[in-house]
């Protein structure tokens, strides 16, 4: 099992009142799954995804990731865990505007203590794999939305994570570009990468093997 959420609650205090963002979430994810999270706006999809990505904490419950109890881990240990195993993809790509495609891809590696030569090889590999060698020296603003998201995914994949978390990865793309991204996810999934994506589109959700529906922070 890759990860396990057990009776997870998350809330914020607002005006002396508890406002629940997530209520009693129970979720088991096996390695190699492709899961789609769906639900109306404000239902807690992003919150859940961030929680799985260990970017955000929770207030009650247990979270086990590769047999490690995340809720008891120290901040540093937790950071090492997601650094090693998790890649993020965003709706608005979040590429760094001042860096070229190549540099954007290299960036995560800088924080993982790879040597210069290794980094070069890994970046070249990724550029090859995504067919964007010709774009390596361009800046994000010079790329189309689809191409930018391609770079975003390549960046998430570069240090070979076990799990990709994608929050509405096609939200800013047209349907054709969206389809291409979904095909790519399918292919990655076939190669053994676990994927959890948030989506509003039934069609995109269908690429996955399982759908989780959220309403007001509760799984239904």
């Amino acid at each position: 099992m890759l990860l396990h959420l057990k009776n997870i609650f998350k809330w914020v205090n607002s005006g002396g009142q508890r406002v629940f963002l997530l209520k009693d979430i129970n979720l088991e994810v096996e390695e190699g799954e492709f899961i789609s999270i769906m639900g109306p706006s404000g239902s807690g999809k992003s919150t859940l995804l961030n929680l799985i990505g260990m970017l955000d904490g929770f207030d009650e419950g247990e979270y086990t990731f590769l047999d490690e109890p995340v809720h008891t881990l120290k901040e540093k240990h937790r950071a090492n865990l997601y650094k090693e195993y998790i890649g993020f993809v965003f709706q608005s790509y979040h590429l760094l505007d001042d860096l070229t495609v190549k540099e954007n891809l290299e960036m995560p590696l800088l924080y993982k203590k790879y040597k210069g030569a290794e980094r070069k090889a890994m970046v070249a590999d990724m550029l090859d794999r995504f067919n964007i060698v010709g774009k390596k020296d361009l800046f994000p603003a010079q790329l189309s939305g689809g191409q930018q998201q391609l770079v975003g995914i390549a960046r998430a994949l570069i240090s070979s994570p076990k799990l990709i978390l994608a929050d509405e990865p096609t939200g800013n793309l047209n349907s054709k570009q969206g389809e291409e991204i979904m095909e790519l996810f399918k292919q990655l999934n076939n190669e053994g990468v676990t994927i959890i994506q948030v989506t509003h589109s039934e069609k995109n959700a269908a690429y996955g093997s399982r759908i989780i529906n959220l309403l007001d922070g509760r799984m239904i």
Partner: protein, 806 residues
């Protein structure tokens, strides 16, 4: 409408307390330092500025020193004034002052001391534009035995009685009676030549205290001489003519020279100045600092407020979308800016009022917002208002120009120009900061160096007693009593040693004789170099802890004076003698007499640490000028010293009941010689700290700006595995680079400035590399602390916040 804007502005300032505080505080520091420095600078610059002062010049003497004319003496000869006036039609009037130091005035036998007086020519009132509150300017100094008093002096001596026509006596020769002919109000007069009492110059020719000088013409220069030239005179041309002019009977290798009276206080530093003058270089440096501080604080304000404006972009977008006109928005922000600036000015002026007493104590001045001093500030007030309005306009201008569409889409974050502007500003600030730090450290090192440099004499626990005996008419009686006094003092247990000398290290220039003309033992006569001499009793050298490199002190003789002398090493070098031992017992000749050299003392600093070593001859003399007392160990404690001083005063009063009395600690007086520099260093230190504070605020502003700007980037990097320390490094490394760049620029600037500053000292400390390293490290530390405060906040923000997709 205006009231509404004000209300909104107040609300905004109150809501953003930290921002408002930093902004107002930063501006207030800048303005307050500016006002304080400028008060000081103006005061120093206001010396001898009066109606017509531009036409008044001082006559001084250039000496021929090794083939070149150098300013040799602030005094001129008694006949210099009249001769120049006769020769040059441009010169309309002249005034001579012959100083009467330690003047004691007797009103019906009650002595009043602590006054400075001068013999002065009757043109004084016209040349110096000084009116009388009582008496007639045209006659007050015409007749012999007339005196004019300053208002406080008149008050002191006569209380509320009208002083005009009152008789007075002056100690020294109490057989003659003076008449008060005028009272002048010169308390607010800022001049290098201060007078409490003026005695008509015509008195000189019959007054017996000057009887030794009656026959001198071109023989004795003890006369501060000022000339008033006709308006529109070409002073440069006149000066050329005067320098080339050789009066009849004038056979020295000297020449007359003019200098504007307005420049004396700040730019003249000649032997025999009336008082220790200010330092024009220091004043210039301080003014530059004042302007930089002010400028930096305004730029900081622009920096901070435009940074803050990014956070308000949304508010503006919304206001615009709902129909806010550009002019209305501008007006709103302008009222905020104006309010903030006004608050800062009020706060700054408040701070100046509160800090002024402390500042005055520090710099040893009496600055205030009175009359002239305030008037001097008015032009700067204009600059301040202009600067404040520009600074206030800038954020209003930037804010109101935001395009609402862009703002609402959140596209405002990337303004490259703004960033460059801020970066340049920060680097400039750090250049200033680091330079100031280096200068402060260097100045301190120099003062420390001077303080700890061996003087060549031990002044600790040595006091000089001086007084005027008012009731011993005959020399023989006086000398007898004086010896009794010395004996009595010697017996006191607090007194370890006792001697007398005409002057001592650190004493005023004027108590030492300066001479040109001396014949060396080999028969060679030098007539071009200045050398100095004074008289002292035989015990002087021992008491002062002076070491002999050859020979020893002259021995006491029954007459208590002899033609034996002790010279210093510099004098030996001056004579071109290599082996000091060979001079012992040889004869030198000056003043038309032969003198036998008995000893050579190690060089000691007679004129303080700022002057170079001079050739010195110390004559065996029966002087009674200063009684030097070396206090016993028992007097090293505060209580011991008090007791010792008490007992000494009692002994003095017993022997000389009708006299004035003053004691001076020699070490304190010696150190006071670089008081000016110490004051300057202190002022410099304070304003360095303030400039650093302002620079830190600027850096704070820039950091918060970059942190806002790089919020997304930080989030992305963190999500991709960057740790907090890696983010900190990312955010801080630029600042470190800038500080590094600033350091590289600052080093030569500071080096140059300090090299120039040190030129004013005869003994210079070394410009050490570690000073630069220390300043660089200090600046870096300050920068890092300031920056990290913000960047740590930015680095620890949960990336989820930054990356939330709307």
């Amino acid at each position: 409408m205006f009231k509404l804007y004000l209300k909104i502005a107040v609300r905004y300032l109150l809501k953003n307390k930290l921002y408002s505080f930093i902004n107002i505080f930063g501006l207030a520091i800048g303005i307050a330092s500016f006002v304080l420095i400028m008060l000081y600078v103006n005061y120093e610059k206001s010396y001898d500025k009066f109606n017509g002062s531009e036409n008044v010049h001082r006559v001084f003497m250039d000496y021929l020193e090794g083939g070149e004319f150098v300013p040799g003496d602030a005094n001129a000869y008694i006949v210099s004034g009249p001769t120049l006036k006769d020769e040059f039609p441009e010169i309309e009037k002249f005034v001579r002052f012959r100083r009467i130091r330690n003047m004691v005035v007797l009103n019906n036998n009650t002595p009043f001391d602590g006054m400075v007086g001068s013999l002065a020519d009757p043109e004084y009132f016209d040349v110096f534009d000084q009116g009388l509150v009582k008496g007639d300017e045209s006659t007050a100094l015409s007749k012999p035995y007339s005196v004019v008093l300053s208002t406080p002096t008149a008050q002191k001596i006569f209380g509320d009685t009208n002083p005009i026509g009152q008789p007075l006596k002056i100690a020294g020769d109490d057989s003659v009676t003076f008449t008060v002919t005028g009272v002048m109000d010169n308390t607010n007069r800022n001049t290098h030549i201060k007078n409490d009492v003026l005695v008509s110059f015509s008195t000189f020719y019959t007054w017996t205290i000057f009887k030794n000088d009656w026959n001198y013409t071109w023989n004795q220069n003890e006369y501060y001489t000022y000339v008033k030239v006709a308006p529109n005179t070409n002073a440069e041309l006149l000066n050329q003519k005067i320098m080339a002019f050789v009066p009849e009977g004038f056979e020295f290798k000297e020449r007359h020279h003019l200098e504007p009276i307005e420049d004396i206080h700040l730019y003249s530093n000649k032997p025999y100045e009336v008082e220790v003058n200010g330092n024009g270089g220091n004043i210039k440096l301080l003014s530059i600092i004042a302007f930089i501080t002010l400028l930096l604080s305004w730029m900081n304000y622009m920096n901070l407020s435009s940074t803050k404006s990014l956070e308000r972009a949304k508010e503006i977008g919304i206001r615009k979308v709902v129909g806010g006109k550009k002019s209305q928005l501008t007006f709103q922000f302008l009222s905020e800016s104006a309010m903030l600036n006004c608050l800062a000015i009020v706060l700054a002026l408040g701070a100046v009022f509160l800090l002024l007493p402390a500042f005055n104590r520090l710099v040893g001045q009496n600055l205030g917002f009175t009359g002239n001093q305030f008037k001097g500030l008015l032009p700067y007030l204009g600059i301040m208002l202009l600067g404040a309005s520009l600074a206030a306009l800038y954020p209003a201008f930037v804010l109101s120009r935001f395009s609402p569409a862009k703002v609402l889409k959140g596209q405002l974050q990337t303004s490259k120009n703004g960033l460059h502007f801020r970066r340049a500003l920060i680097i400039t600030q750090f250049v200033a900061t680091i330079s100031l730090l280096i200068c402060t450290f260097m100045a301190n090192k120099q003062i420390h160096y001077l303080k700890n440099r061996p003087i060549g004499a031990n002044l600790n626990q040595v006091i000089a007693l001086k007084g005027q005996i008012l009731d011993r008419a005959y020399d023989s009686i006086f000398y007898n009593d004086f010896d009794v006094l010395l004996e009595e003092l010697k017996r006191n247990p607090y007194v370890a040693e006792i001697s007398c000398s005409r002057t001592y290290p650190g004493d005023d220039f004027s108590n030492t004789n300066s001479n040109i003309g001396i014949t060396f033992p080999n028969g060679h006569t030098d007539e071009t170099h200045i050398w100095y001499n004074y008289g002292a009793r035989p015990g002087y050298f021992d008491l002062m802890g002076m070491d002999f490199v050859a020979g020893g002190a002259y021995l006491p003789t029954p007459e208590k004076r002899s033609h034996n002398v002790v010279i210093n090493e510099e004098m030996v070098r001056f004579m071109g003698i290599d082996n000091v031992n060979t001079i012992i017992g040889k004869t030198i000749n000056f003043w038309g007499q032969d003198w036998a050299v008995k000893g050579v003392v190690k060089d000691y600093n007679h004129f303080g640490m700022k002057s170079a070593m001079v050739p010195m001859v110390i004559r065996h003399d029966r002087t009674t000028q200063n009684i030097l007392v070396k206090l016993d160990k028992r007097a090293t404690t505060m209580a011991g010293a008090d007791k010792a001083l008490d007992e000494i005063k009692n002994i003095w009063d017993k022997v000389f009941p009708v006299s004035t009395y003053k004691y001076t600690f020699l070490d304190q007086k010696f150190e006071a010689l670089f008081n000016e520099d110490r004051k300057f260093t202190k002022a410099f230190q304070i304003f360095t700290v303030l400039a650093i504070l302002i620079a830190s605020l600027g850096l704070f502003g820039l950091t918060s700006y970059t942190c806002i700007q790089r919020k997304k980037e930080i989030g992305v990097r963190k999500v991709n595995g960057a740790t907090i320390s890696e983010i900190l490094q990312l955010l801080n490394q630029n600042f470190i680079k800038w500080v590094g760049l600033a350091f590289v620029i600052a080093v030569p600037i500071a080096w140059f400035a300090m090299d120039k500053w040190l030129e004013g000292f005869a003994y210079k400390t070394t410009i050490s590399w570690w000073i630069f390293a220390l300043a660089g490290m200090a600046a870096l530390t300050i920068a890092l602390i300031t920056v990290s405060w913000q960047s740590f906040k930015a680095a620890t923000v949960n990336p989820v916040e930054a990356l939330r997709d709307e």
